[in-house]
Amino acid sequence: MDAFFAGMGVLLDPYMLFLVFAGTVLGIVVGALPGISGSTTTALLLPLTIAMTPAAAIAFLGSLYCAANFGGSITAILINTPGDPSASATAFDGYPMAARGEAGKALGISAVASAIGGIFSVFVLIVAAPLLARMAYQFGPPEYFALAVFGLSMVAAIGGDSPVKNLLAAALGVLLATVGLDLTTGVERFTFGAYALSDGIEFIPVLVGLFAISELLEQAAQHGAVQSYIKLKKVELPTLADFRKCAKAISLSSVIGTFIGVLPALGATTAALICYNETRRWSKHKEEFGRGAIEGVAGPEAANNAAVGGAMVPTLALGIPGSTTSAIILAGLIIQGIRPGPHLFTEQPTLLYVVFGSMFAANLLYLVMGLGMAKLFARIALIPATYLWPAVFVLSVVGSYAPNQSMFDVWVMLAAGVVGFLFRRYGFSPAPLIMGLVLGKLVEETLKQSLLIFDRNWLMFLTRPVVVVLFAITAAGLAAPALLRLWRFWRASAA
């Protein structure tokens, strides 16, 4: 308890409070801007933080990290452009809500869900980090393979109404994931000698193209149509009934998101996608998904922020980064002379409480700011399309170019935009494509690694308890609709 009060004492210093505030505001801004992610910003600011005390540096970077994952949802909802890859699942239902004139509601629920997910994971971090971190050791390639198969198993149900079209889109995503240097053979696949493709297709340009550019083309195709902004009569925040509707999505996603965040190989993007699946699976209103379901915003947002606290678990308790951003924070800690590991929790409890406190405060801060400014942000939807979409176009080009300073990525983005437009025209959804792209690589890579580990004996998968459990859940999920139909049929014929 002494350490707790000492930590709070450090944190209540005006300078520290200012840093947490500055980190949160900066995090929201860079999170919202496509192309500048939280990880890029932490890397750029790393040399600056070295001049600070260790406590100040980590409070600043930690709050930036928390807020950036929330910031990504703002642009995902308002202009269908995920500001951060982790917000891609948010756009699935967030943008249709905004298009319906419910931008305020979507932004509000995003802020609340993000904060609950974030705060839940910070509590898990405080209470169970050393214990939970050991779990990371239980996850080798076979376990990741089983988890990725579980994630992909729901792909037919996600996105559009036609399972066949969803599977086709997912297959395209899996195919795109094979581009680049193959980890286990060292062979370059589908790169056509282009350096830009040797590390695979960049995720951000694909996202920006699929969402933002395809929407721009769609808007352009509706020349002369009545502008959609008339629908927005007044900006409403979520009501109590909305929160009640989302309670299950938020609590489920907070738990799953934290768990996935703890796993070093998986991050907030995967957490959000898997939780979007799970939210839909357990929802009473499955038919609303993809058309502006408020639960479809709450689930992934709770998950991607829960993944932040989760990612800090192995980072602090094992010295193994749980995500790109936490890898940079880890580098910062090491340069500051702090050695993460199990001993950190006994040797430097005060510093840890500063970390927890600042992350907790950042989550509260962006909740207040997010709710306070939701009405203001929602007015972006009022900007006439003739001004808004050209601005989005500029943002998309810059956002795709910036991370790797590569024109190639800009072409990828534009090509993905055309694909996204054709998808819309012919009734496909981008959601399964993104699932395929994110999980396809994981499935293939971990399968090949597993077989190397198992001396190419497939049956060895069944000797791993975690794998067996995950396979069983996957099988149950796949068989459930068929069994349900069978049961209904049996009841109907019995009656």
């Binding site: 500048i36 040797s198 001993h343």
Partner: protein, 329 residues
Amino acid sequence: MPTKTPTHIRLTRRAFAAGSAAAAGLAWSPLGAQEKFPSKTIEVVTHAGVGGGTDITGRMMMVHAPEAFGTEFAIVNKVGGSGAAALAYAASRPRDGHTILLITQTHLLTVMQGKAPVKYDEIVGLARATDDPQFLMVGKSSPLKTAQEMIAAGKTKALKFGVTQLGGVDHLAVLGFAKKAGMQAPTIVPFRGGGDIVINTVSANVDVGILNYAEAESQLKAGDVRALVTLTPKRLAPLPDVPSAKDIGLDINYSTVRGFVTLKGVADDRLKALEDGLLKAMKGQMYATYIERSGQSADSVVGRGPWQAQLDGFYNEGQAALKEIGLLK
């Protein structure tokens, strides 16, 4: 301003770099005088993305570089092709000393395989930045207690080694070690990064992991992994009890190195100026702290002579090794 800028792309990138620097609140010195070298921003080209290990090394050097050189610095991240994209970009720039590369052995392996538009004799060493000895480590539950036991086990069956990249530095180090020690050709299990290797070494999914000290520091302290041997001739200060390769009678030297180079064609006085400036920048307090705390060898920073010699040595040895595993004809 635009008249001085060769292409609009360059302007955009510059503007972006300047913008982010301004956002970072970093104090940048104004553009230096035009008559002497360096006369404009020096670009540091790296193959690593923002936040990658090599990127961070570059940024640490850059903390003190503006005062050492009297000009500003900018990192250019050219990701792709295991260094080929970075080399191609550098090759497209004027050879006036305003473009330098921060490279690893990976770049040399890429050059050897003819995958970059640059030949090895075009690469001119300036200064080494980091030298990170590699270790062979096993998990707590492993029956292998010493390097000798591991070698003996490796003679009766193929051990599984966790490495980062096929045909990369780790891979060559493992093959070189196994060959010198007379072990069977090992089974190579590639992973995405050091963290993955640590986890799979602890959980015994692989028999042995090849790791740097800093990557496994917390597991070494907690006793979850044991370091059996360092693949360099000298023991590393933080692990005084772990034998060096020399101690067990092997003449090998594998470490992860990063260093600055430029491409042939830069005038000699400028090479000297770059070497002096880089050494001065890396003698700075911030950089020294970074080297010490990230577990790098204390004599990481060396000048042109020893760095070029190390590059040459690695190039010759790497070529032989790549031929042996069939990646080079």
